[in-house]
Amino acid sequence: MNKGEVLLEHVTLSWMGGDEGRLPVLDDLALHIKAREFVCILGPSGCGKTTLLHLIAGFQRPSSGRIVVSGKEVLGPGPERAMVFQHSALFPWFTVAGNIGYGLRHGDRGRIKELLRLVGLDEFADVHPHQLSGGMRQKVSLARALALEPDVLLMDEPFAAIDTFNRERLQDELLRIREAMGCTIVFVTHNIQEAVYLSDRTIVLSQRPAKITLEQEVDLSFPRSRTDRALWEISQKLYARCGCCTENANNDPQLQLEKRKVE
């Protein structure tokens, strides 16, 4: 198995407790991600996308099944699987440089400088995170993850809270950085265009308990254009398939009730 390869075998997860007893979150998931592949995971909110990332990161253990990364079974968190969180999760008590260097033993100044340059924040080394914009914070979070030199980079809706223009700029920077670093990337999003623009392959999850409903190769070379016809067609296809949301809406008793009221 190659460095950066991710393998999920029969991965199942249920929450324990509550009145219902067991609440199934992930249902018998099987997934193979090649080394250096960029995979986007799409799905309705609350379907378990983040949970899936947490399992790969090792923050949680599956109820059954196993996860193998770079040939080793995942038993807990480690620097070879670095995560970028939705709300950056930077430490407010450290400066930008301190945050980036957090995982580096002996706080290697040269390496921190390199990473600051990579994400374009050279001048902000000694600034505290709360003084940065949301987009800049996500760049610092990315740099902190990259400092660990991970085999796999896990990104949990990192650009969801950022305005459209900055989001597109960040997406392009991520692609540029990916070229430079060459790690596998698993990127969770609920934005179809983002998924298609960034990924080599997009995976669509269903409502909870999550199953893979669709795997879509995005066989287009980089750099891509957002207005590209082929890209647009793939997006359309995914929109049609993610219509699972509308299908479900038809089955939703509450919604049907409201519809009847309207009629």
């Binding site: 947490h54 990161a57 090792g58 923050f59 807990g76 968190p77 480690g78 620097p79 699987r81 670095a82 995560m83 969180f85 709300h87 999760a89 430490f91 407010p92 008590w93 957090y102 995982g103 505290h128 995170p129 709360h130 003084q131 902190r144 660990l148």
Partner: protein, 265 residues
């Protein structure tokens, strides 16, 4: 030149003082009018205060001496209580088992009014300056421990994920992630402890015959009918409390949690 900004600042400091003086003056008039009680007016107390500043003694010591005695007692008790509180909090934060055993005890201690410790303090350390220090420490400890514990319990899970992902040892995680994240809560605890300890220091001095200190003066002035002295001491206590709370903690916060954007101004 004074600009608008300066005027607002001056107003902010002087207007509450003005309100207190006016209300006080009215009260003393009213009491004299309705009940025939001679209630010390602000100017009487001010005159008395100036006299003390010039060196006339109150109950055997200068005003500075009485104040220093109280500050010393309070500082010792507060430091002792804070340190113990932090140690207990650390132990509870490190071990879930210790927390289960000790945290409820701390919550119980929190509920005991400071003055209720008087019999206990007298039995444990006898009557003397140590009595009030012991009581102050007991009043300081619970809020500090609770602040630390709640702070550690409230660390966002993402911070812990980051720490684990970076391969931290439990030791490094505690000091680099959990403790700084708990700092705002620890400081709130220390502030509450400060208010608690001030209340207790004066009360303890009143009850446990110490012979010196602001609380002692307030109590003694009752027998001497020297109410001006009592009012001066109350003023000094308020002033010291505000200085330690606003200025001391204000600075501590400015260089830590405020600088890090962990508090909303």
């Amino acid at each position: 030149m004074l600009n608008r900004c300066h005027l607002i600042k001056i107003y902010k400091i002087l207007s509450p003082v003005f309100v207190v003086v006016i209300a006080w003056k009215c009260l003393s008039w009213l009491l004299l009018l309705l009940k025939g009680v001679i209630f010390p007016a602000p100017e009487d107390v001010a005159r008395e205060f100036v006299g003390y500043l010039q060196g006339s003694p109150i109950f055997g010591h200068s005003l500075a001496g009485q104040t220093l005695a109280t500050i010393k007692r309070w500082l010792l008790g507060y430091l002792l209580g804070t340190l113990t509180g932090l140690v207990v909090g650390l132990l509870c934060a490190i071990s879930e088992w210790l927390a289960m055993a000790f945290y409820p005890v701390i919550l119980m201690l929190q509920m005991v009014p400071g003055l209720a410790w008087i019999p206990v303090a007298i039995l444990v350390v006898g009557i003397g300056p140590e009595t009030s220090i012991f009581m102050i420490a007991l009043a300081t400890l619970p809020p500090v421990t609770i602040g630390l514990m709640e702070g550690i319990r409230g660390v966002p899970p993402e911070y812990l994920y980051v720490s684990r992902m970076c391969g931290d040892t439990a030791f490094r995680r505690f000091f680099m992630t959990q403790l700084p994240s708990a700092l705002p809560s620890v400081m709130t605890g220390m502030r509450l402890a400060l208010a608690n300890s001030w209340r207790v220091v004066v009360a303890a001095e009143m009850v446990v015959g110490t012979g010196v200190g602001l609380g002692y003066v307030i109590l003694q002035s009752r027998w001497d009918m020297n109410y001006e002295a009592a009012f001066v001491c109350i003023g000094v206590i308020v002033f010291l409390g505000i200085v330690t709370e606003r200025w001391g903690f204000g600075h501590l916060e400015k260089y830590t949690v405020k600088r890090w954007g962990m508090l909303n101004e």
